[in-house]
Assembly symmetry: C2
Homo-oligomer: 204 residues x 2
């Protein structure tokens, strides 16, 4: 349906439709919602969107999103800067931070190696990770990349490139999620969780 | 989760979360998508949102959204200006226009009477509808309001207020949707479709 009686409305719907997971119907619903709101609400949203992209900065050390040169995590002296968790993007940093279980620092790759999508090692923040490793301050790299072919490829690439420069390279454990029934776990996950079993007294 | 390492990101997520049907997780996904795009994409979206609300105008006759004083439908002399279809909002205008079955004009109420939400007749575009009726150019009002208690209330209110000023007041037919199985239709709809049956030769 393209019978918009207003070019302004059509423009807004077209732009909203470019967002992932938002079709024309949802975009129209959002646009009509904005029309019902105060003008200052639309202005706040529009400006937040424009400023996010135009003023965003990334931590020069870990590439996490940050408003300042060095992000709050990298600037926190109470954290263990010798343990670096390697993640795909900043969402993963937030997810791990929310667990409250990690007191080291991060390195955000900005993606994973994916020849199908034309993403090679040069497109990721790997050189700066190697630099951190070469500086000799990293005792352990924890790989927390997605459990996909691309994630595995990236893990393997990083291992080959960095294992002589870093004391330990580990990977987060994979297994049956807490609270999940065994019967619903896929075979690969369940298989891994048996192969990678841990001493019982360590599970407390 | 409120561990955003950037105020810009936090602002954008907060504003996006105000949109209907968008939770914090989706808002974050949208914000990260915007970060990966060119800056001009974010600017186009942000500006479209701001301009939509600040520059929007409504047709002074039917209250449909419009970039000019009189909308394209009201300005179209090939349409039948004596038949006015009364709808809740501009989405309904689009939906009816998309059928290609209606050659009259519209009147957008901007809502329906809903005491629960504090919406009375004075909050809707009813005075201007009465004005159109009083001018004597309307031969038929077609009520196309939602089949809800609020829609019925509004229909009844408009009928009482306008039936002496307009030749005919009709309502769109309700019944079993084309392609639907009878067994899945609710009782009220199926009952209505039997009570309001039409001569067979009119169904072609």
């Amino acid at each position: 349906m393209n019978t918009y009686s207003s070019r302004l409305l059509e423009d807004a719907v077209n732009e909203l439709t470019r967002l992932p997971g938002i079709g024309r119907r949802t975009a129209l619903r959002l646009a009509l919602h904005l029309l019902r709101q105060d003008a200052q609400r639309s202005e706040a949203l529009g400006n937040a969107i424009i400023r996010l992209r135009s003023e965003v900065r990334y931590c020069s050390r870990c590439h996490n999103i940050s408003d300042v040169e060095i992000c709050a995590i990298c600037a926190d002296h109470r954290r263990d800067h010798t343990v670096v968790c390697v993640v795909e993007d900043i969402r993963d940093v937030m997810a791990i931070e929310n667990t409250g279980q990690f007191r080291g620092v991060y390195h955000v790759l900005g993606g994973v190696i994916s020849p199908m999508d034309g993403i090679g090692p040069g497109d990721l923040n790997i050189a700066s990770l190697e630099q951190r490793a070469v500086e000799g301050t990293v005792s352990e790299l924890i790989m927390a990349l997605p459990a996909t072919t691309e994630g595995d490829t990236t893990n393997f690439y990083l291992y080959k490139r960095l294992h002589e420069k870093v004391g330990t390279i580990s990977a987060i454990s994979r297994g049956v999620a807490i609270g999940d029934d065994l019967e619903f776990a896929d075979e690969v996950t369940l298989g891994k969780s048996i192969l990678n079993r841990v001493p019982y007294h360590k599970t407390f």
